[in-house]
């Protein structure tokens, strides 16, 4: 036991001190933080409004201008960028076009005399070509304006029309009556699955490389004259597991520190408040109300994550499934690595071994679509696939008995994999220059040594 601890220490310390480890551990949170912070920075810094000059021969926008020279057509929620419609000085489109070339305005909208029942000939001129987004926004505004004109023309009762309009807001509820946010659940499920998937591969590969290194540098026989091969294998696997957990912990802590630091520096809370206020000041009051309602709902959704998600369950399960899945797969990786002489040879065996993991990842979308289906169920019980699949299912609330069964199976799978790996490992590390086949690996299992 004392010796396995020495092995764990060595495996841990040499890796944690390694430059690559330090670099990835400290740079990745910066990347994460950047993903959070850059949109905020964009919001604060680069608000460049787009001005659209309007030549309105039909006086279609009369209502909107309300006697003023311009009105705000649309506001981008993320950046705060506004599309401003501005009445042109010119009534003749040719003059307006000539003048527009000199101006720094974004686009020129020409609404000719038209029959509102068959509107034709609306044109947008622009220096550089419009972004699809802006074009569709302008079109939408012109359309709604024409629609409003039609309502007046046909004498439709606006109140009646408003009543006819249906705005259905469907809430997904669990049978317990709690609110459910399926997009969020999908995201968390997919995220959890992908993290386990990558973690198992990344740290499993480190174990594999470590074993091959000991063999190719020929130190293995020196070491196993002091410790049992099984102790060496487990020491390596556990040491690298600790490296992984350290890295995860540092990522989470550092990301939180950086994000909190930057946002508090920028006063992001105030910004968000202002954002909501601006949204409500939008021109179309009804739209604004709706937006406001949605924003509020989203905000309350985020506030209620803890209610929406079985968060403690997910975190506990993440640690269990990471450790279980990692231990199981890295033991198998260690076994094949012990049998070969180079990393390249090892790769040819790791691909078939990691097939279940790849399959569970590929099946991800299917599982997330039907998290309670039979396939999802069985894949989340089978130990080779359960780490990824169960993480995907978990946000959709998995019954406790299934979780218990799955973790028990994972534990058995881990014990089995370690036994299997230990049997192969003790033979493999003393084998040099042999052509390795699955048949041979199978024979090694039962070899007396």
């Amino acid at each position: 036991m004392n010796k396995i601890w020495l092995v764990i220490q060595r495996e841990y310390i040499i890796r944690v001190r390694n430059k690559t480890f330090l670099l990835t551990t400290f740079l990745t949170p910066l990347l994460f933080a950047a993903l959070f912070v850059i949109p905020i920075l964009l919001m604060v810094s680069s608000v460049s409004n787009k001005t659209i000059e309007v030549v309105d021969e039909n006086n279609l926008f009369q209502q909107k201008f309300k006697g003023k020279n311009e009105f705000v057509g649309k506001k981008n929620k993320m950046s705060g960028e506004e599309i401003i419609f501005q009445k042109s000085k010119y009534t003749n489109i040719e003059e307006a076009r000539n003048a527009f070339k000199e101006s720094k305005k974004y686009a020129l909208l020409h609404i000719p005399k038209l029959d509102i029942e068959k509107p034709k000939g609306v044109k947008i001129y622009a220096e550089k070509g419009l972004s699809v987004e802006v074009e569709s926004q302008i079109t939408q505004i012109v359309e709604t304006t024409i629609e409003e004109a039609k309502i007046v023309k046909f004498g439709i009762d606006k109140q009646m029309l408003d009543k006819v309009k249906t705005d259905l807001d469907v809430e997904t509820l669990k049978t317990t009556g709690e609110q459910n946010n399926s997009a969020l659940l999908y995201g968390v499920g997919f995220g959890g699955g992908i993290i386990i998937y990558m973690a198992v591969f990344i740290y499993g590969a480190i174990v594999m490389r470590g074993v091959v290194e000991e063999k190719s540098s020929k130190i293995i026989e020196v070491i196993i004259s002091s410790v049992r091969p099984f102790q060496l294998m487990m020491g390596k696997i556990l040491g690298i597991a600790l490296v992984g957990l350290t890295q995860f912990a540092l990522w989470i802590i550092l990301t939180l520190v950086i994000v909190t630091g930057i946002t508090s520096f920028l006063g992001a809370d105030k910004m968000a408040e202002q954002q909501v206020k601006q949204n409500t000041e939008m021109l179309n009051e009804k739209q604004a109300q709706e937006v406001d309602k949605k924003t509020k709902k989203a905000l309350s959704g985020i506030n209620n994550i803890t209610q929406d998600l079985p968060i403690t369950k997910i975190l506990v399960a993440f640690v269990l499934y990471f450790i279980g899945g990692y231990l199981m797969y890295s033991a198998l990786f260690a076994a094949v690595a012990s049998a070969v002489d180079t990393e390249v040879e090892a790769q040819q065996f790791t691909t078939p071994i990691s097939m279940p993991l790849i399959i569970s990842f590929v099946m991800g979308q299917f599982i997330l679509r039907e998290p309670d289906g039979a396939i999802a169920f069985w894949l989340s019980i089978f130990p080779l696939t359960s780490p990824v699949v169960m993480m995907m299912r978990l946000p959709f609330d998995v019954p406790l008995w299934q979780l218990t069964l799955s973790i028990s199976c994972l534990f058995l799978g881990f014990v089995g994999a370690v036994w299997l790996a230990g049997r192969i490992y003790r033979v493999g590390i003393l084998t040099h220059g042999e052509k390795i086949t699955y048949k041979k690996l199978y024979q090694w299992l039962f070899l007396k040594i």
């Binding site: 040499i14 290194e213 020196v222 070491i223």
Partner: protein
């Protein structure tokens, strides 16, 4: 065949009837041998004879199928690994690890505390004059330097039994000599050393006791002196400058070669201890340039045991001077 006539019964290691079977290959077949305490024990035999298998069984890297092994008069235990130092034939170091750290790690695996290991390392680093290497990565050292480090790693925990498998393979002559001196020094301090090699001539000068292994079986075992004596062929090799004919009833001239300005003759004596008589007879007939008894080398003995052929000419050009 056990030729150990002056057995002391103080054996640090006693191997009894050990056999080992790999899938289809009998690696060791009923091998028994006893390693006397404080001696250098040569484990000789060609490649693939089973030497490494036997050593791996003694170091408990692999298990024996049958047989008993006792270490210090008690059955061999896993804890005994801390009293055994092993330098395998296939040896290396962690290339990316620093020299000092690596030696600390390896010696702690052998049961030393950190402080003990540090104290002893300081002595070795001074002795080999390698202090500046402490913080160097192994991959930055030359092969010879790495071999010194490996040797230090093997002996740092001051094992009672040191097992060296082909210790000089890959060593340059200077380092080989340094290591040879260290081995003799350790023997002087009471360490027992098992020395395994297929190059039999290389251990003749070092070993006190020898076991020969061929095709998974021990074919010979005994003290070097006894073995040499029992395989004494009573052949003398004489360089002389005039030919001679009759040397008396006790002697037979096996062969005479004429070289540039002298002759080389091989003379068979009937029994032991006739050297003086032969000299006496020769002096009357010729001028003697050199005179020596042809003691067989281990290589000769081995070839004789394996092939059944006796040879009085030296296969390794190695000559034991007559005393």
């Amino acid at each position: 065949m056990n030729l150990d006539k002056n057995s002391t019964n103080d054996f640090i290691l006693d191997v009894q009837h050990v056999s080992k079977m790999y899938a289809t290959h009998q690696a060791l077949n009923d091998v028994s041998l006893s390693v006397p305490r404080g001696q250098i024990f040569g484990l000789l035999g060609p490649n693939g004879a089973g030497k490494s298998t036997l050593i791996r069984i003694i170091t408990q890297i692999i298990r024996r199928d049958t047989g008993e092994i006792s270490f210090n008069n008690k059955p061999l235990q896993p804890e005994d690994a801390e009293n055994i130092g092993y330098l395998p034939e296939e040896r290396g170091l962690y290339k990316k690890m620093k020299v000092g750290e690596q030696l600390l790690y390896l010696s702690r695996l052998k049961g030393l505390t950190k402080n003990e290991a540090m104290d002893r390392l300081k002595i070795w680093f001074e002795k080999f004059d390698i202090k500046p290497w402490w913080n160097k990565k192994v991959e930055d050292l030359s092969k010879g330097m790495q071999q010194k480090i490996q040797f230090v790693a093997t002996v740092l925990h001051q094992p009672a039994l040191l097992i060296l498998d082909e210790p000089f393979s890959g060593f340059d002559p200077i380092n080989a000599n340094i290591i040879k001196d260290e081995i003799l020094e350790m023997k002087r301090k009471g360490t027992t050393i098992i020395f395994s090699t297929h190059r039999m001539e290389s251990v003749e000068e070092l070993c006190d006791h020898v076991a020969l292994i061929n095709k998974s079986q021990k074919i010979l075992d005994g003290s070097k002196k006894d073995i040499k004596n029992s395989y004494r062929t009573n052949v003398y090799q004489v360089e002389h400058n005039k030919s001679f004919e009759n040397l008396g009833d006790n002697f037979e001239i096996l062969e005479t070669e004429k070289n540039d300005d002298h002759f080389l003759s091989y003379i068979q004596a009937k029994t032991n201890g006739l050297g003086n008589e032969l000299l006496h007879n020769l002096i009357n007939q010729t001028d003697i340039i050199s005179f020596q008894e042809r003691l067989p080398s281990f290589n000769d003995i081995f070839i004789m045991l394996v092939t059944g052929k006796t040879t009085y000419k030296n296969t390794q050009q190695e000559v034991q001077h007559y005393e």
